[in-house]
């Protein structure tokens, strides 16, 4: 498991202070992994906030329905109470006790319901189920706005961090490429230098070989002169020996060639 996958799997938020310490350690020793872990944490936070917003929205829908239903019920109950109240007043005016009793039995549960919904004063401004429902709606609406703002900030943080990491990665890749290119140029320069050096060395060797060959030719002539000198010991002076040797060298070459021709052709040439 890599450090990043560890952070993702375990969940940095769950690690608390330990997670912070780990990230700090990685920030010193492995900045990229630490950055990715930070970003993962930001992403998790944004996701958690989004979940919370969804929950509040569902609750808010429920709250709004509750307020609407209670408002409608209160309106209907109040209308019904007025209708029965008018009948009750008429029955009382007519001194019809039977109807009064019957209507009182009808209106009492409606009045109780109005009190439960709208409080003792029927206004729903200070107490009652409708007042509670309105309060809950207001609190949940405020919560929703607060979480929306937090979510927007979290998304911005997350997006910004991802962009920063992307830029940092790009800069690192660029630096790596520059380094690589520089190494390639250096290697090429070394190879080029090597090529140039080896060409000079070759010329030196050739010169040396030529010098050596000249030396060898000199040595050969010297040997030939020495041999002729040995062959004419007691006869010619040195100068004539040398001359003869040099001349002989030429003629010997010719004789030799002619001799070889004669040998090879059986004297027909």
């Amino acid at each position: 498991m890599t450090a990043l996958s560890f952070f993702k799997e375990v969940g940095v938020a769950k690690l608390g202070n330990i997670g912070d310490s780990l990230i700090s350690w990685y920030a010193q020793h492995d900045p990229e992994t630490a950055s990715a872990a930070d970003i993962a944490e930001l992403g998790q936070r944004a996701e958690a906030l989004a979940h919370r917003i969804a929950e509040i929205q569902v609750k808010l829908d429920h709250d709004q329905n509750a307020v609407m239903e209670l408002t409608e019920k209160l309106d209907r109950d109040q209308k019904a109470a007025v209708i029965i109240g008018n009948r009750l007043k008429a029955a009382q005016d007519a001194n019809n006790q039977l109807v009064v009793t019957q209507l009182t039995g009808q209106i009492t549960p409606i009045l109780n319901e109005i009190e439960q919904i709208a409080g003792d004063d029927g206004s729903s401004n200070t107490s009652g189920r409708l007042f509670d429902a309105k309060q809950t709606l207001a609190v949940d609406t405020a919560d929703l706005n607060q979480f929306r703002e937090a979510h927007t900030a979290a998304i911005n943080d997350w997006t910004g961090a991802r962009e920063r990491l992307a830029r940092a990665r790009s800069a690192m890749e660029h630096a790596e490429q520059q380094k690589h290119d520089a190494e390639l140029r250096q290697q090429q320069a070394e190879r080029d230098a090597g090529l140039l050096h080896r060409a000079a060395a070759g010329q030196t060797a050739l010169s040396a070989m030529e010098k050596r060959a000249e030396q060898m030719r000199t040595d050969a002539r010297a040997a030939a002169i020495q041999a002729e000198g040995l062959r004419h010991v007691g006869g010619s002076d040195v100068a004539s020996i040398v001359n003869e040797a040099l001349a002989g060298d030429q003629s010997n070459k010719t004789d030799s060639a002619l001799g070889r021709l004669a040998r090879l052709t059986g004297g027909k040439a």
Binding site: E69, L70, E72, K73, R76, D77, K79, A80, I83, I84, Q106, P109, I110, E113
Partner: protein, 228 residues
């Protein structure tokens, strides 16, 4: 045996001390067999004031003595029969498990045709059940709400399965049609449900007047064993 007689028998059986362990139907608002309900009189008062034939002179506190179920138009319908209103019931039409309709139906006097001609009046190709509009005994005109048109259609046949509070099951065959009329309050209507009902022991024609109520108009005291 007519539907109302059957329901009375169910009620008596339910009150017997030798009642078997009860079977409960999962119903909206946990209005299962043996649950209690207090119906707000508000919708009745408002409708009556708006000219409904459905008056406020009915008891509002009941136990549920039986629950009927049937399927129509691909939707589930429930009838929670009321203890203090013979033949009266709370009606729920469901869209999946959401309540789409909540109504209180009170019965009109049951009619038992005795001759073929009397049955023909209700069930013929041009019979009462399925007419584009019908007139109640009080002279109110109701318009057909199922497949409304100016042509007669046959009543919809459904089989209602009723489980009473003792757990016994009965089936009722309906050939029925739904009508309604506008009241003086534009938000309110009054329904008229007409059904030729057939049980194992008899046939009759039943009519119910219905009013829309809301779940908030019902205070439910669910029985301890009412399915959640």
């Amino acid at each position: 045996m007519s539907l109302f007689t059957l329901l009375r028998m169910i009620k008596e059986k339910h009150l017997s001390p030798h009642a078997p362990p009860p079977l409960r139907t999962k119903t909206p608002l946990r209005l299962s067999q043996d649950s209690a309900v207090a119906i707000s009189i508000t919708p009745l008062v408002l409708s009556e004031a708006a000219g409904a034939a459905f008056k406020t002179d009915i008891p509002t506190d009941h136990k549920i003595i039986a629950v009927g179920q049937y399927s129509l138009f691909g939707n589930a319908y429930y009838r929670c029969y009321l203890s203090n209103l013979d033949g009266g019931f709370l009606h729920f039409a469901m869209r999946t498990w959401n309540i789409a309709e909540t109504r209180l139906y009170r019965p009109m006097p049951e009619i038992t045709p005795t001759t073929a001609d009397e049955w023909a009046f209700w069930l013929d190709d041009n019979g009462f059940i399925g007419n584009p509009d019908v007139q109640s005994p009080e002279g109110n005109k109701y318009l057909r709400t199922w497949a409304p048109s100016d042509q007669h259609i046959m009543g919809y046949q459904v089989i209602e399965t009723i489980v009473d509070a003792s757990g016994a099951t009965t089936t009722v065959r309906h050939q029925m049609m739904q009508y309604q009329r506008a009241l003086n309050d534009p938000k309110l209507v009054e329904h008229l449900l007409v059904s030729a009902t057939q049980t194992d022991t008899g046939m009759a024609v039943n009519l119910w007047l219905g009013l829309d109520v809301t779940p908030q108009d019902l205070t439910v005291f669910a029985s301890a064993d009412a399915p959640v």
